[in-house]
């Protein structure tokens, strides 16, 4: 009915096709971010007696805390756009943190995992970490594309196994004594730089490359994509491999930032990353999602956590409220989508 209505309106419009972009849908989610910030600002003056936003240190820490989530979320967003899901990214962070760190130990450290392989140049642990992440992603993608098991199950299996690898690797011992060369990437503002660079690269990739166009097409209608000549299987492997690669990168940054690696790193990160993508407007049904939205979604998660701490809200309440805010964000979005259709 409603589509007919629009169609009739369209038929009255001149046939001459105009080229004009719609207002990007990220505006809405940006308004939500600003709204949350303003609420904290007001509550800050009311209850804490200081400004929430006018504190550069707080803002820096806030973004630093979520930049690892953000790196993962960039990969997860692409998976979600294809209509899939990646539950393994948090575990892959833990696994790559452990393995990469084991190649980044200094000779001064007496309990190195590989005593003969110490003081290696930065590039070695970096490539090892990225390689491990990529491998995990390739396995996910291969399973989903060729065995046709649902992404939920394939990545659930990877989530459990990758976590197992990170525990088995040193029998639960942390990997410490990392070289300054390696930990450099986790110092200062570097994690944020990595996050925003990755976001920029894949924003461009999704918007302006064939890779991006095919990703959206598969998510919008996988059968139509196949009939249009897209090699769906090969493309899905690419997307999951990229998600794995980015989880690997996040693992490296995590270990570098903590100056040590532990088997429990990255637990639940996958859920935060999915939340960031969904808050940013990605649809789990596929075909919809943007990196800019995901970046804003990530920052919203950061602002929420930081704001709670700032207002000295009990940590227990924080999680309860965070869950509700995630749901509220999506409910609002679903409602908005429905309204636009009718």
């Amino acid at each position: 009915m409603t589509t007919e209505h629009t169609a009739n309106q369209a038929s009255l419009a001149p046939v001459q096709v105009k080229t004009k972009r719609r207002l990007p849908s990220e505006i809405n989610i940006l308004l939500v971010l600003i709204g949350i910030a303003i609420v904290y600002e007001i509550l800050g003056w009311m209850f804490v007696g200081q400004s929430f936003l006018m504190n550069q240190q707080r803002l820096t820490i806030m973004i630093l805390q979520v930049s690892v989530i953000g790196i993962i979320a960039v990969g997860v967003t692409q998976v979600i756009i294809t209509g899939g899901i990646d539950l393994s990214s948090g575990s892959v962070v833990g696994m790559t943190a452990m393995i990469a760190a084991s190649f980044a130990q200094s000779a001064a450290w007496t309990r190195a995992v590989y005593p003969s392989l110490t003081d290696l140049p930065f590039i070695v642990p970096m490539l090892v970490g990225l390689g491990i992440g990529l491998l995990a992603g390739l396995i996910n993608g291969w399973l989903i594309a060729y065995t046709r098991i649902p992404p939920f199950i394939a990545t659930l299996g990877m989530m459990v196994s990758a976590r197992g690898v990170s525990k088995w690797y040193t029998k639960g011992q942390p990997v410490s004594g990392l070289t300054d060369d390696f930990t450099f990437i986790g110092t200062g503002i570097w994690p944020v730089v990595v996050f925003l660079t990755v976001a920029a690269i894949f924003h461009v990739a999704l918007r302006y490359t064939r890779y991006g166009k095919f990703t959206y097409a598969i998510g919008a209608n996988v059968q139509a994509a196949r009939v249009s000549g897209i090699n769906v299987e090969r493309h899905l492997i690419k997307v999951y491999a990229i998600a794995g690669l980015l989880a690997g990168l996040a693992g490296i940054v995590t270990a570098a930032r903590a100056q040590t690696a532990q088997a429990g790193m990255g637990v639940m990160y996958e859920l935060d990353a999915i939340a960031a993508a969904v808050i940013g407007g990605a649809s789990l049904a596929g075909g919809v999602g943007r990196i800019t939205g995901t970046v804003i979604g990530t920052i919203i998660l950061g602002v929420m956590t930081s704001g709670f701490t700032f207002l000295r809200v009990d940590a227990y309440y924080q999680e309860i409220v965070k869950g509700m805010i995630i749901i509220a964000a999506v409910v609002v979005d679903v409602y908005r989508q429905k309204k636009r259709k009718t």
Partner: protein, 517 residues
């Protein structure tokens, strides 16, 4: 699931419960029913009368309105106008459950059983016999099922899982389920389409048995011989209109065909004379296991080959196989005399093919994406891309030119395709493929569900393409379209080619005779 107590028309339920059913001559009457969908008038002033203890066949071409009428009787659709009467009492069905409780049961073409549950559980679902603790009494349920099967002469183990049953046996279970509701009216939609000859014989035995118990059966079929074998009466529909009812002993095959196709052929398709060139596509003994066998034909540059046949004849499957969606299990394909192996749409596109699928929404449009994204997706395989980057300006310009040329009515290229009308969606898909500059164009139901104006435009467009030397294969259920547009018509029936007709010799009766033997 709606609460039955609130949706069921209480009067009729009470009448049924009392057993004092008004003794009407007709079990079921449909009078002047009209049903309109956005853009399509599916039923226009349709009537039907079903006598007690008869088998009443419904016939008509694809899109004649049979299925819509059946869905009204089964409570899936409600009519816009008109009346349905059950044993003389007007009823207004609100849901399939409602229909079932009023004694109307429908056996769908795609069976609606739960594969991981047992036969008995499927039949008595929602009505399971309970024991003293309020738990399901499986023993009693099994006995009830066994009794039911004995009555119908069905030999299926009530405890077997539905997924282990053959299609024929699943159908038997559906019938038993319908009978278990003490239904007076049984609607069957092409029940024999997936059965072997022996299974059909058994099914007919059961149907005759039900008839002798006074049940009225509405039997939708495309098969002429079944009509004469089992039906007592036959009603014919055409283009959403009721044409007539006859005793099946009073009519001949030819009468039925004439009623189905009508006589008037509109001169909507001024056929352009095109110089027909060399053979572009040659298909030899193409087969797909269990779907179609030994399909051979040639299409030449500038030629439009129409493929006619009823739904289920394998027309669309042939197109899908040529395009590599379901690679062939036998036979060969040659393009310009060169043998090619087409195992995916990607290779088909590389060979210069384009395929506009039957189901716009399922396999065509990227509904939630915009016009531009929909149009460019196929051409990006090998054009407008440099080093992975899409040359946005060039591709938008090409899409814009194409959209103007095809006269796509859209506010701009950034409109979501789901907001366009069916005709404009189809134009977007045609544009998607024309951008790839195909030499072989396969169109499956190119004008289904779109309005007359857009239809004519699409026909004109196809003619122009043929003139430019494109080899066109056009599958269509619309007889005037096939007859008007095609240089030659290939007719299929049950997975086989039953004949070719030239433009000059083809008429509706000849096509129908080949399509419904």
């Amino acid at each position: 699931m709606p609460n039955p107590a609130t949706v069921s028309p209480p009067t009729m339920a009470a009448v049924r419960a009392s057993g004092a059913v008004p003794n009407a001559e007709y079990l079921l009457t449909v009078e002047n029913v009209r049903k309109e969908f956005p853009g399509v008038l599916a039923l226009d002033d349709v009537s039907l009368r079903l006598r007690r203890g008869t088998i009443h066949a419904l016939m008509g071409e694809n899109g004649a309105g049979k299925s819509t009428l059946m869905k009204i009787l089964a409570g899936i659709y409600t009519p816009d106008r008109g009346e349905v009467r059950l044993k003389g009492v007007p009823i207004r069905l609100q849901s399939p459950l409602d229909a079932l409780e009023n004694g109307i049961a429908m056996i769908h073409q795609e069976l609606n059983l739960m594969p991981f549950m047992t036969v008995a559980e499927n039949i008595w679902i929602r009505r399971e016999p309970l024991n003293g603790f309020g738990l399901v009494d499986h023993r009693r349920m099994r006995r009830m099922t066994a009794d039911l099967f004995k009555r119908l002469n069905i030999g299926i183990d009530p405890e077997s899982q539905v997924r282990d049953l053959s299609v024929a046996n699943r159908q038997m279970v559906e019938i038993a389920k319908a009978v278990s509701y003490e239904s007076d009216v049984l609607i069957m939609d092409e029940p024999t389409s997936a059965l072997t000859e022996r299974e059909v014989a058994h099914l007919f035995e059961i149907i005759r048995d039900l008839r002798s118990q006074g049940i009225g059966i509405v039997y939708i079929t495309h098969k002429m011989n079944e009509l004469f074998e089992i039906a007592d009466e036959v009603s014919v529909f055409r283009d959403g209109r009721y044409i007539g009812t006859h005793k099946s002993s009073d009519v001949t095959r030819e009468d039925i065909i004439r009623m189905m196709v009508g006589r008037e052929i509109t001169q909507m398709f001024p056929k352009e004379t095109v110089l027909i060139g060399e053979t572009v596509l040659s298909v030899k003994n193409l087969s797909l296991n269990g779907i179609f066998t030994d399909v051979s034909f040639e299409v030449r540059a500038g030629e439009i080959l129409g493929i006619a046949g009823l739904v289920g004849s394998g027309r669309s499957n042939v197109a899908e196989t040529i395009f590599g969606v379901t690679p062939a299990t036998g036979g060969s394909i040659e393009i310009r005399g060169r043998p090619v192996r087409i195992d995916s749409p990607t290779t088909a596109i590389r060979e210069g093919m384009a395929f506009i699928t039957e189901d716009r929404k399922e396999t065509g449009c990227l509904l939630i994406l915009d016009v531009l994204e929909n149009m460019q997706i196929a051409v990006l395989q090998d054009r407008f891309v440099r080093g992975g980057f899409v040359s946005e300006r060039e591709v938008s310009a090409a899409c814009e030119t194409m959209a103007d040329k095809l006269r796509v009515k859209t506010p701009n290229l950034y409109e979501r395709v789901e907001n366009l009308s069916g005709g404009n969606q189809q134009k977007v898909l045609i544009g998607r493929w024309l951008l790839t500059k195909p030499r072989i164009l396969i169109l499956d139901e190119p004008t289904r569900g779109i309005d007359v104006g857009a239809k004519a435009e699409i026909h004109r467009l196809v003619s122009v393409l043929a003139k430019d030397g494109v080899a066109v294969i056009m599958i269509s259920s619309e007889m005037p379209e096939v007859l008007g547009m095609s240089d030659r018509i290939m007719v299929m029936h049950e997975g086989r080619v039953t004949g070719f007709l030239d433009h000059a010799e083809a008429d509706q009766v000849k096509v129908m005779e080949l399509a419904a033997r």
